[in-house]
């Protein structure tokens, strides 16, 4: 899978599919509220929250402004820790490096803990094509892999399946014979996956933050699959994005004070590991070899542009959990592995405008995302910035251009506006059949149908406010004049 998926359907079709699925629709709404309420409670009781946010912004900006330096510092220090470094300017470079590692070890079996970077480059598909077995070990990711489905939420990606569907997937694909009680299914996964962790030759994982001063990588999980992946397979491959770097351990604390609270409404996740190189002498478990794939894949093109704020993103999902659009169209509506508000900024930032359909218009610019972002990204402004770029690069739909050109004229010329009102008022009145609003029966009219297909639209009033105001002022002046003459004041 690359960044975009399900592109044979249009945004409109994907959205329609999502809205049809009541279970999925409601599951995402519930998840939003659970995470949002949890986050809200913790943030409210944390006096220093805004200070931490501000500091996170200055730290992350400092790294972005000196990205080349910090990438180099991290790489050199990780190498000093004994990690084997692989540099991947592109996603394909990353795939090439991974395949090379498997080939050198003659390995054919890997376990993976959830990593957006590997999704971004389509790692699973490539490994499977070359006959390498790769097992997703996060419960939700394993459900998705077994069901051959895609994530609908970035933190709880399999929320679109109910318990019965999940039990059925494992009954069919893995011979599960238990009930659909979540606890029983989860403990079944514990059993079957534990075996896989012990057998696999390679562990593949992501990295939440990479520490430049120590060359360390980190992993945040609740289930413990990340720890299993980085404790038992002898060869470990770590995907690190160049936008994951923090300067030092103190900065790491700031980020970790923000991340779990923002992501899942918890002060801390069950596990957070700080890994600095392969197992040391005398250590029985832990990887013998650690390969770090340091990947760019288009990220640097955001630096030093209007979009550089996006390089602060820590993928917490807080913006998804507050978005009024995401809650309805779910992760599947967007057609990108990066959905929701952050996805609307990042996806076109990485893949450009040619294949994203109307994605960046799936946003009301309400600003809730920007308000909640723990690293202060003006997300809704950046979504609009993409729209501006699309128009500047002439990648907008040709059909809409005359409409906006007409609005340009109409909204900037009083006589044209007044004429429009004069002509428009009786037309709308006629279309409303004596009512005060256009109803669904006007949904055959282009543009208007965009509105009236779902809502009524009030018609133009018979008088203009400006007309009333002018008369009102004239009346006042007349009264005043009269008052003065009569000596009443």
């Amino acid at each position: 899978m690359a960044i975009l998926y399900n592109t044979d359907k249009s945004l409109k079709e994907r959205v329609a599919d999502c809205l049809e699925d009541d279970f999925k629709h409601n599951a995402i709404k519930t998840a939003q509220e659970v995470f949002y309420v949890g986050r809200g409670k913790l943030v409210a009781e944390m006096e220093g929250w805004e200070d931490l946010r501000r500091h996170a912004v200055e730290v992350r900006n400092h790294v972005t402004e000196n990205l080349d330096y910090y990438v180099k510092q991290f790489a050199q220090n990780a190498e000093k820790n004994g990690c084997i470094m692989h540099y991947a300017p592109s996603g394909d470079d990353a795939l090439w490096e991974v395949l090379d590692i498997f080939e050198k070890h003659g390995a054919s079996y890997a376990v993976k803990s959830k990593s957006m970077m590997t999704e971004e480059v389509g790692l699973n598909e490539i490994l499977e094509e070359t006959g390498i077995k790769i097992t997703e070990t996060d419960c939700a990711e394993n459900i998705l892999q077994t069901a051959e489905s895609k994530p609908s939420h970035i933190v709880v990606p399999a929320l679109h399946f109910d318990r019965e569907a999940i039990a059925q997937i494992y009954r069919e694909k893995r011979g599960y014979d238990g009930s659909s009680v979540p606890e029983e299914i989860t403990h079944y996964l514990r059993k079957i996956l534990r075996h896989e962790f012990m057998e696999a030759e390679v562990g593949i994982r992501g990295c939440n933050f990479a520490v430049a001063s120590t060359g360390s990588v980190t992993l945040v999980t609740n289930e413990g699959n990340g720890r299993m992946v980085d404790s038992f397979p002898k060869v470990q491959i770590v995907f690190v994005g160049i936008d994951r770097i923090v300067p030092d351990l103190e900065a790491l604390d700031t980020m970790m004070a923000l991340l779990p609270r923002s992501a899942v409404g918890a002060k801390m996740t069950a596990y957070f590991s700080l890994d600095s190189g392969p197992a040391g002498p005398g250590e029985v478990d832990g990887p013998e070899e650690v390969h770090i794939i340091l990947m760019d894949n288009g990220r640097h093109t955001l630096a030093n542009t209007e979009f550089s704020d996006m390089l602060r993103c820590m993928r917490c999902g807080a913006c998804l959990n507050i978005c009024p659009v995401y809650r309805h169209i779910t992760g599947h509506g967007y057609g990108s592995i990066y959905p929701g508000p952050m996805g609307l900024v990042l996806t076109p930032g990485l893949v450009g405008y040619d294949d994203i359909d109307n994605m960046v218009y799936a946003c009301s610019l309400c600003g809730a995302c920007s308000e909640h972002c723990p690293v202060g990204i003006p997300i809704h402004d950046l979504i609009r910035e993409h729209r501006i770029k699309i128009v500047e690069e002439h990648k907008n739909h040709a059909i809409e251009v005359p409409i906006f050109k007409a609005l340009e004229l109409f909204w900037s010329n009083v006589p044209v506006y007044k004429f429009g009102m004069k002509v428009g008022e009786p037309i709308m009145k006629a279309l409303a059949h004596g009512d005060t609003a256009l109803a669904e029966d006007s949904a055959w009219i282009p543009v208007v149908k965009g509105w009236t297909s779902t809502r009524d639209f009030d018609i133009l009033s018979s008088t203009r406010f400006r007309t009333w105001f002018k008369e009102h002022k004239e009346e006042q002046a007349a009264q005043k004049a009269h008052g003065v003459e009569g000596g009443e004041q």
Partner: protein
């Protein structure tokens, strides 16, 4: 350009160019941040930090025990004396190789329990056997390097005497934390680590392994321990 075999420079050059840097700087000083966030632990005394640590631990479903340093053996003995949680069956125990356990008579106390059929003390010379023992053990016992009061987190570094498996594979993880090592927040732990050679892994653990992946129903004991005990030695 051919795929793979890229150098660090291949990665860095486009970044420098985008930033309009003529090359990668030799040194970048961190700005002098004027930053100190208010934390809930500000102004707390050491005993208050221990209380907060214990209270937060209970919130994340950790069983908390507080005992005198001299009574560690008795306390740990009584925990494993329960056998397998819920069934009460006989159990095996894997334990870190720690001088404080040795001196406190912990190993003897563990072995003395009727329900403990086998005690494995981590021994680097026996390699994979340690992991195999942890794989089937009911209890894994470690001595944490530090605790974090704000989040009820324990800091568990890995080393030849305490492998990653002990706190990960058994059904129950029992972590001993010396009250004197409980820090207010992660920041103090990070500051203590700064400038030192870090072990291959420092794991920050805050409660049992858990998931809410199926219908947001919380289930404990996914890949790691289902039950976690903190024993605070004071």
């Amino acid at each position: 350009m051919a795929l793979g075999n890229k150098t660090l420079d291949d990665l860095l050059t486009p970044i420098s160019k985008q930033l309009e840097h003529t090359g990668v700087a030799n040194n970048v000083e961190l700005p002098a941040w004027d930053f100190k966030a208010v934390r809930v632990t500000d102004g707390m005394s050491a005993p208050e930090l221990v209380d907060l640590f214990a209270a937060e631990a209970e919130k994340v479903r950790v069983a908390v025990h507080r005992c005198a340093r001299t009574e560690l053996a008795t306390c740990l003995g009584s925990i494993v004396a329960e056998g397998v949680p819920e069934t009460g069956e006989a159990c095996t125990v894997v334990c870190a190789n720690d001088e404080r356990f040795e001196q406190g008579g912990v190993y003897a106390a563990l072995e003395a329990q009727d329900k403990v059929t086998k005690l494995t003390v981590w021994d680097e010379t026996r390699g994979q056997e340690n992991v195999d023992a942890a794989l089937t053990a009911t209890y894994g016992i470690t001595f944490a390097a530090a605790g974090i009061a704000e989040t009820a987190t324990i800091v568990q570094p890995t080393n030849p005497k305490c492998g990653r498996a002990i706190s990960l594979l058994p059904l129950v993880h029992v972590a001993v934390i010396d009250a004197a090592t409980i820090e207010p927040t992660m920041l103090e732990v990070m500051e203590n680590c700064t400038g030192k050679k870090l072990p291959s892994q420092v794991c920050f653990i805050s409660g049992p392994s858990a998931t809410a992946d199926i219908e947001l129903v919380r289930v404990e004991g996914v890949h790691g321990p289902m039950y976690v005990h903190y024993v605070i030695a004071e």
